[in-house]
């Protein structure tokens, strides 16, 4: 009996203490941050942090949520300044009634000015801080970052969820958004011969939307109904500083060369009339790079194998194997892919930001050579021969084998 009592006391004591919790921090009393934005003011040299928090009162759900939180937005955005990013984050506390909790942060966005000033200080802070997770999506914002953080997504509960979902969708549907997470940025930044390439989020202002005509009554409705942001393209970095923007063509070129395509599409001109746009969906793309030592220094081969299917072919063409029409479509698509990769290479050379990582390729495959040319990589990169070889294979035509004959379509 005595032993049992002792065991009971011991077990209770162990259960209460072994969790190691020192104090109480109830989840319902925390301010859950969903998205974090960083801005930098060049004049005051201060960081500005904008945090978007979930508002549990309005997010409540079906029962009672309608009446109690009807007028409240399901999220709230607050900003604060500080000389360092973490100081700014701490200064947020002065304005918010609850303790911050950052572990649910899904999106990290940088304004253009903070990106151009160097994002390493923020990366350092976020790697040190235990609550922040390196699995969050990262983006650079073109346009007013404050508008982005306030914007509403008609289909989503909160702005953060909207940005997060939209990024994920763009990655999988169009492959127009480079690099995945904060963690990947670290390994890119720390490796030689490759630069960071972060996706772009463009804030659509009212003037961008072609609402046009009815300025008077319509304006109050337009901003909420219009899509708040456009995602696609990317920001090129040299070291931790942004050096330029890549458009969508240059971004997809990066994805082609870096083997980061989930799905993509091409529009090429019909080889017969050289006018009608033909749509091809790329469903699978593999890319391999390897260096070769040519007669004048190294040469880089980029080998791309793409598979796709016809998507739009509004003209009557002979799609049989014998006609060779598919073959010429394949050649045109291959050329289109090659053009995209070359546009990215040109941009990399112009901005001296080797985002595809040709230097890294040499570092990995020919470390001895890299030791010689690593220091002057961008001089070498200017004239290095890069051979992009593309093999395109159009495998399917969709659910109809051939388009309707022209005379039937009237």
């Amino acid at each position: 009996m005595k032993n049992r009592l002792a065991a009971l006391i011991l077990i209770t004591a162990a259960a209460l203490t072994l969790t190691g919790c020192w104090n109480r921090r109830d989840p319902e009393n925390l301010a859950l941050v969903l998205a974090t934005a960083f801005d930098y003011n060049n004049e005051t040299q201060k960081y500005k942090v904008i945090a978007q928090m979930a508002n549990p009162i309005a997010m409540g759900g079906e029962d009672g949520g309608q009446t109690a939180g009807g007028e409240k937005k399901p999220y709230w955005t607050v900003s604060a300044d500080g000389s360092a990013s973490h100081q700014a984050m701490r200064n947020l506390t002065l304005k918010v009634s609850r303790e911050f909790f950052w572990a649910h942060n899904r999106v990290f966005v940088f304004s253009e000015s903070v990106a151009r000033n160097g994002i390493y200080p923020i990366m350092d802070m976020s790697a040190r801080e235990r609550q922040l997770r390196a699995s969050a999506h990262v983006a650079v914002v073109e346009g007013d970052i404050n508008i982005l953080m306030e914007s509403e997504f008609p289909l989503e509960e909160s702005g953060a969820m909207g940005i997060d979902r939209q990024i994920a969708t763009i990655i999988y549907e169009r492959s127009l958004f480079p690099e995945k997470t904060l963690n990947e940025l670290y390994s890119t930044l720390s490796q030689p011969g490759v630069e960071m390439f972060i996706g772009r989020v463009k804030v659509i202002t009212v003037s961008d939307t072609t609402a046009g005509g009815e300025e008077g009554a319509g304006t109050s409705e337009t901003p909420t109904a219009a899509p708040p942001i456009l995602i696609g393209g990317g920001a090129l970095f040299k070291g931790d500083r942004m050096v330029g923007w890549a458009n969508e063509q240059e971004t997809i070129g990066w994805a082609y060369a870096s083997d980061r395509v989930f799905r993509s599409m091409l529009y090429i001109k019909d080889p017969v009339d050289n006018k009608t746009p033909i749509g091809i969906d790329i469903e699978n793309l593999e890319s391999r790079m390897h260096p070769e030592s040519g007669t004048e220094g190294p040469r880089i081969i980029v080998d791309i194998k793409a598979k796709g299917h016809l998507h739009d072919i509004p003209v009557d063409r002979d799609l049989t194997l014998e006609s060779g029409y598919i073959k010429s479509l394949e050649q045109r698509s291959a050329q289109e892919i090659r053009n995209a990769v070359h546009s990215t290479i040109d941009l990399s050379r112009r901005t001296e930001s080797d985002i595809i990582g040709f230097g890294n390729l040499i570092y990995r495959k020919q470390p001895k050579l890299w030791e010689q040319i690593g220091d002057r990589w961008y001089d070498v990169f200017k004239d290095i021969e890069i051979d992009v070889r593309v093999h395109m294979n159009i495998r399917r035509t969709g659910l109809i084998a051939s388009p309707l004959a022209a005379e039937k379509r009237r």
Partner: protein
Amino acid sequence: MPANSFPKTTTEKIANRQLLFMLFMMRTTVVIAFLPVLTSADAFQDAWAAAIMSFFGAALLVLVIAGLGVKFPELTAVEYAQKLIGKWPGKIISLILVWAFLVIAATDTRIYAEALLTGFLTETPLPFIVFMMVIAGSIAAYSGLEVIGRAADLLFPVFLAAIVLSLVFALPDALLLKRNLEPVLARGIGPVLRGSIIPIIIIAQYLALTMVIPAANQPGKALGTALWALTGSSVVLVLVSLVTTAIMGPDHGSRLVFPFFSMVRTLNISIFLERVEIFALFAWGFGIFIGVSVFMYCGSRAVAQVLGLHDYRPLIGPLAVIWGTFAEHSYQDMFQLRTFFQPKIAGPYALSWIVIPMGILWAAYGIRRLTGGKPDEK
């Protein structure tokens, strides 16, 4: 003094399997906790090679540690040391082992506590976490080796499953970023060797064998068991270093305090399945618990035998206090802990725990053999 007058404090027996589990968990926990192959030197993307290298170095030291135990299957190191080199010298040598158990148990506990403090329980005082682990370990050690063996039986599947799950979850990301593992062995063998020093000397943990072998039900097999445990642990280490280096990048990875843990934190299996680090943390806690229990058992038994006590259990209380205090005060902060694990500091220090006592005992054993005496009889 004839052998049978030494206190036989226990007639406990553990199965060979249990010994294997204990040794496997004890080593795996610590070598993956802060992944010394990656963080302790400049091996970077060749950390996996350092892990393979560490297996051979560690295996050699296991032979040194456990070889004599197999020759004296009935005796602990404290006992056969006194047989081989005399009563008082033997006792003095045994104190080195006691010191090693103390430092290892304290350091393991401290690393675990630091991880919890940095990652989760930022406001919990350090002694609280340390003493919770020490108390749990003490209760296990007080209950005896058989109980620790059964606990190892119970926890091993969970431990292994947690590590395997973490690795499986990490695999897609690791394959995507496998370029981070190149160039392979471009800087020669030097970085690989430097990276393997710390994981090799962590084998000092297996000094526990010198106290545990008499309790194994097949002492003759203990050496093989230890090598199998080391093999399993090395396989895990190689896989973990490959995956972690790929995902975190060689340079960033080598700057992390707890690389494996940070790696698992970045995993995002899907929108509904993230935060899988809980698996890694479970494995860690279980492994440390088994390790610390074994060290407390070995340490208190060694002290009891040095002092000539019949039972080691009364010593556990006082020793636990010393252990906890040591874990708390031997390192003031994370910087000292990291400094300690530099190859040039921990290397010679931990190696001396193995080489000095075992070297002397092997020499004595060899001399007795050569001079024709039977070393296992006085």
